[in-house]
């Protein structure tokens, strides 16, 4: 690779880098006997997520990982610290960041067909109908829902609804996919299929993924790096594990188990 091309690639990656420095989120100031007490959900988070990487936020329930994700999404505002994508400070939701929610039922539009759901963002952007159709065809095919275009979400299974959510956000060609325990409500077998599908889709689209889960196995199965969030309140990223295993990963491999034990031990402490 020539130097110029390498520079170009680096700057492209840098544009998609999520940089978090000294980030705090607190609510409510209680003045008690001990003086003013501020309740921190997350405190002093430092994190750099590189363009194109699959980053997993792992932690127990209520540790603030969803809060952090929602802050990156721009849904909730930070109390202080820095939160940037490339050079731009995040203060509101944007097309560059797509969110896949845990509950497809509450985030999909039940009055729209699969295709209409997938085309929603494009329609808002007033993309012409033919172009919309070509794009929705592509992503419906990518998530394996061809043949179900005209169904309403209520006619789909839980796993299929999550596929619709994926296709819907990918159709807008975002830089970053923010996923909040998207497979948490699925049965074990469907979840396994969806995990495989996500790895396939990620390696085909090369998006940056920030994936929130409390499932250690899921984290190791998916993540290039895993950020461990400590138990809240005042939680922060306590450790980052690199998982250099090749995709698709084998749960029964000795290497896999080694990481599993390591991370499990981290939580047992």
């Amino acid at each position: 690779m020539s130097l110029a091309l390498q520079n170009q690639k680096d700057s492209f990656e840098a544009n998609r880098t999520i940089t978090i420095q000294g980030l705090n989120k607190s609510y409510g100031e209680h003045s008690g006997a001990a003086g003013v007490h501020i309740h921190y959900i997350i405190k002093n988070v430092d994190l750099v997520i590189h363009g194109g990487e699959f980053f997993v936020l792992l932690g127990p329930s209520g540790c603030g990982k969803s809060t952090l994700l929602n802050m990156i999404a721009g849904f909730i505002s930070k109390t202080d610290g820095r939160l940037r994508i490339g050079d731009a400070e995040i203060d509101k939701p944007g097309r560059d960041r797509a969110v896949v929610f845990q509950q497809a039922d509450s985030s999909l539009f039940p009055w729209l067909t699969v295709r209409q759901n997938v085309e929603f963002g494009l329609k808002m952007k007033k993309v012409p109908k033919r172009e919309r159709r070509a794009i929705s065809d592509r992503y419906i095919d990518l998530v394996g829902l061809t043949g179900h275009e005209d169904k309403l979400p209520r006619a789909l299974s839980g796993g299929m609804k999550q596929r619709v959510q994926l296709a819907r956000v990918l159709a807008n060609d975002p830089e970053i996919l923010l996923m909040d325990e998207p497979f948490g409500a699925l049965d074990a077998m469907t979840r396994r299929t969806m995990q495989k599908e996500l790895v396939r889709i990620w390696s085909q689209t090369k998006k940056t993924v920030v994936f929130v889960t409390h499932d250690i196995q899921e984290a190791i199965l998916l993540g290039g790096r895993i950020g461990i969030m400590s138990q809240g309140p005042s939680s922060k990223i306590s450790h980052i594990y690199e998982i250099p295993l090749d995709y698709p990963r084998d749960v029964s491999a000795a290497e896999f188990y080694k990481y599993y034990k390591q991370i499990q031990a981290h939580f047992d402490e």
Binding site: A73, G74, F75, P93, G94, R95, R97, A98, V99, F101, Q103, S106, S107, F109, P110, W111, F120, G121, K123, M124, K125, L152, R168, V169, N172
Partner: protein
């Protein structure tokens, strides 16, 4: 094997026979001045149909209800959405709404007569009032119960606030709006009868009120049954329309639900 008296239609017929028998029984015990028999009621209805007054009264009441109700809904739906969407307006408007909605429409009749005169305007205004608050409160509740995830996902897909209202809030609120509009139909009939009793020369309410002068309880019965039928038919039609046209939005008509 189904026994004949356990069939759906047989049960319905049986029920009506019981109701009619009880009615006839009451008529025999208390006499026709107090409770006219079913047959007398039918005779009274034929009498009123022959001179054309029943058709006219039903038509007049129906037009009043329909125009006030349509106008009221058309005003209430956008207002409900604005109140639900804009926090500042809601904080101001919600207590006011919850104050005014407890004043029944009938209580406004005299005031509306002073304001709008004894013509059609005062009656339509009354129905409009009866419709307005129910539809507004339902729409408002609907807007407030739209899942945050829907709005967030639309926003992160680049929808503007206006697009969110049109493409997310309105369709997600449709079942609530529909229920409000349907309930408002009921209160509209209540309000119109009150208004027609106090200040009208036509209408089903007028018929019921006026019949007392002639001791025609059978005409009163005709009026009551007409009201019931008018309400029943419009409600069924509206429910059928909702189930047919708005089913995508989660509106179900009660007659199509099978449990």
């Amino acid at each position: 094997m189904t026994v004949w008296w356990k069939g759906k239609w047989a049960g319905l017929v049986l029920l009506w026979i019981v109701v009619l028998a009880a009615w006839q029984g009451g008529a025999l015990v208390y006499g026709p001045e107090v409770i006219p028999s079913p047959l007398q009621t039918i005779k009274g209805a034929i009498e009123l149909l022959k001179d054309g007054s029943l058709q006219k009264y039903i038509g007049v009441s129906f037009v009043r209800v329909l125009s006030g109700w349509t106008l009221g809904s058309l005003i209430a739906i956008p207002l409900g959405i604005i109140i639900g969407k804009v926090d500042a307006i809601r904080h101001f408007a919600e207590p006011l709404l919850n104050f005014i909605r407890f004043i029944p429409p009938i209580a406004f009749i005299t005031l509306f007569l002073v304001w709008f005169g004894i013509g059609e305007q005062s009656k339509i205004a009354l129905i409009l009032y009866a419709t307005l608050f129910i539809v507004m409160m339902n729409t408002l509740t609907g807007v407030l119960s739209v899942e945050e995830d829907k709005i967030r996902s639309a926003r992160s897909m680049g929808a503007s606030e206006w697009q969110i209202i049109i493409h997310v809030i309105v369709p997600a609120t449709a079942p609530y709006i529909f229920t409000g509009v349907r309930l408002a139909m009921g209160t509209s009939y209540m309000a119109i009868v009150g208004a027609e009793m106090i200040a009208a020369n036509e209408g089903v309410g007028f018929l019921i009120w006026n019949s007392r002068l002639f001791f025609r309880t059978d005409w009163i019965f005709v009026g009551l049954i007409s009201l019931g039928l008018m309400g029943f038919i419009t409600d069924r039609l509206f429910g059928w329309f909702g189930g047919k046209v708005l089913w995508r939005y989660g509106v179900v008509s009660s007659s199509t639900i099978k449990r």
